[in-house]
Amino acid sequence: MHTQRKFRPLTFADVLIYAFMIVVVLICFIPFVYMLALSLSSPEAIINNKVSLFPVGLNFAAYEQIFTYPNFFKAYGNTIFYTAAGTLISLFMSALFAYAMSKRFLFGHKLVMMLIVFSMFFSGGLIPTYLLISNLHLTGTVWAMLLPFALNQFNLIILINFFRAIPSEIEEAAIIDGLSYFGILRRVILPLSTPALATIGLYTAVFFWNDWFNGLIYLNTDQYPVMLFLRNIVNGTTMVGDGAGAADKSTIAMSIKSAVIITSTLPIIILYPMLQRFFVAGLTVGSVKG
């Protein structure tokens, strides 16, 4: 049956489907190729509308220029810090919470599960959250960026379900060997859970890497993450291309914007092919039903 299916000749429908899929792949790639081309092209080529998918007048001036902005490096460093620290805090808290919550026999287990699920559908909203953060005096500190997002209900449910699927015999053996529950979590459960931890760790890392809004409402300028830096260039809050004449400004700004887009997205694009299997895992591991 299978071999028969495999050697069936390509039909017209097949050709159409392949063509469609190739178009889909192109649509996903072209924006990045265009950004790369713009960032590597000379201002003359951009202003004369010569750049499409390949760089024209190849040069690295845009990159050289953004590397001279102290704010760019600062923002990039901030983002790296938020991503690393935020992901670590989140994994630590989630692992503790999810491990305890994977034990259905604990008192209050059902109630806490209900609290987790309910808060997915009804959240506090922007203003009460903002007032809470500012009344905790977190505004203007990096904690405003890290703490409020340390626990995510969706990631928790993924992890709880993963922990529940680990056979209880393994734990019973560890208890007989004299391990405490903390010991079991650290030495038995976490090493067995690297795929799930990698998945939620990646979701969290991507969240922190891409975040700009919380930086905008809670942080001072020197604490801004790189995405907020980019947003400020795009909407004109931060001026770029000041060294050039007014006429060149918009085209220089265009290649600089592209260079910032490329540099700030590069880690995701580079790591993506290597890590993509972990990205999908969360969708198949987690189910909303508690």
């Binding site: 919470f97 026999f105 009460p128 891409n210 887009i261």
Partner: protein
């Protein structure tokens, strides 16, 4: 001494209390300790703001705490219900949401069905991997790229339109009539591949025998999709529909904020941006909280009604 009469010794050498509760805590206290810090964090950052919604019924005074000073009842609700800018934002939210669901609910299903028809497994895997990559790109980057692609002076799209149809450059991101299509299209670009994963997993789980039976009955490829695949993944489709309708009022707020320009405000001002503007920009905290709470409650009502409805109609529900 009395202990020995109450407690009996277990093989591992510890005493076991006959009181089951006490025994439970003795044995599992570490698990409760483990939960303590994250649970407090969870209650603080997820439930304190929820309680903070009482601000919608109370007057806020700066420096007097996040929960306001005195009760004012439904005064803020009455005020925004008479405010035309609220109704504008309300309408914009509904139109944008319905438009978005109308386009972006079926597209991932169709994409998944087509992708499943791709013969080569390796090519299928490749397309899938590429297609959900945009999900991980920052909204800031998506909107920045959009701005450059659509730039009237040197954007790629205007040049293509100009050379193919001789059209004058259009300032897409500034024209109100393009705001909704651009919002919906960028959603398609960013999330089609990601959402399709769920449908593709469902399609892969369909019982092979059903297809073989359809083959024997002489069904064409298209008939198999219509009469076998789609009915088989109906439960997944229903669950996704509930989730979509339930989040009707919660649009991609950050994206709308990034796409907002004064010239497209009449279509791009949605409830969330109104809350942001009145609350954080104008510091009208109570008023903004009231609007936010109103839309949150509508959201909960929407989820539970669609869920109830779907349970009645097809037996599918999310809780």
């Amino acid at each position: 001494m009395t202990d020995t009469t109450i407690l009996s010794k277990t093989p591992s050498g510890t005493y076991v209390s006959p009181n089951p509760k006490w025994r439970h805590f003795r044995r599992y206290w570490q698990l409760y300790v483990m939960m303590l810090l994250p649970l407090c964090h969870f209650l603080l950052f997820k439930y304190a703001p929820l309680i903070g919604n009482v601000l919608a019924f109370r007057r806020y005074r700066p420096g007097m705490g996040p929960y306001g000073t005195e009760w004012v009842g439904f005064a803020y609700f009455e005020r925004f219900l008479q405010d035309p800018s609220f109704w504008r934002a309300f309408n914009n939210t509904l139109i944008l949401s319905f438009g978005n669901i109308l386009i972006n609910f079926p597209i991932p299903i169709i994409f998944a069905l087509l992708l499943y028809e791709v013969r080569s497994k390796r090519f299928r895997k490749f397309v899938q991997t590429v297609s959900y990559m945009p999900r991980f790109i920052s909204t800031v980057v998506v909107i920045a790229i959009l701005g450059e692609l659509l730039s009237p002076s040197s954007g790629l799209l205007n040049r293509v339109l100009g050379s193919l149809f001789g059209m004058d450059p259009i300032y897409f991101v500034n024209e109100p009539q393009f705001f909704r299509p651009l919002y919906i299209f960028t959603e398609t670009w960013q999330f089609t591949g990601w959402t399709a994963i769920i449908y593709l997993a469902a399609i892969t789980g369909v019982n092979r025998e059903l297809f073989e039976a359809a083959d024997i009955d002489g069904a064409t490829r298209f008939q198999k999709v219509i009469y076998v695949t789609i009915p088989s993944i109906m439960s997944t489709i229903m669950v996704m529909l509930i989730l979509n309708v339930g989040s009707l009022l919660s649009l991609g707020f950050e994206k709308v904020l990034l796409m907002y320009t004064p010239s497209n405000a009449m279509v791009s001002d949605i409830i969330d941006t109104l809350v942001y503007r009145t609350g954080l920009t104008n510091q009208n905290y109570s008023y903004a909280t009231a609007i936010g709470l109103f839309s949150g409650i509508i959201g909960v009502i929407l989820v539970s009604t669609t869920n109830w409805f779907s349970k009645k109609m097809s037996g599918e529900s999310i809780y």
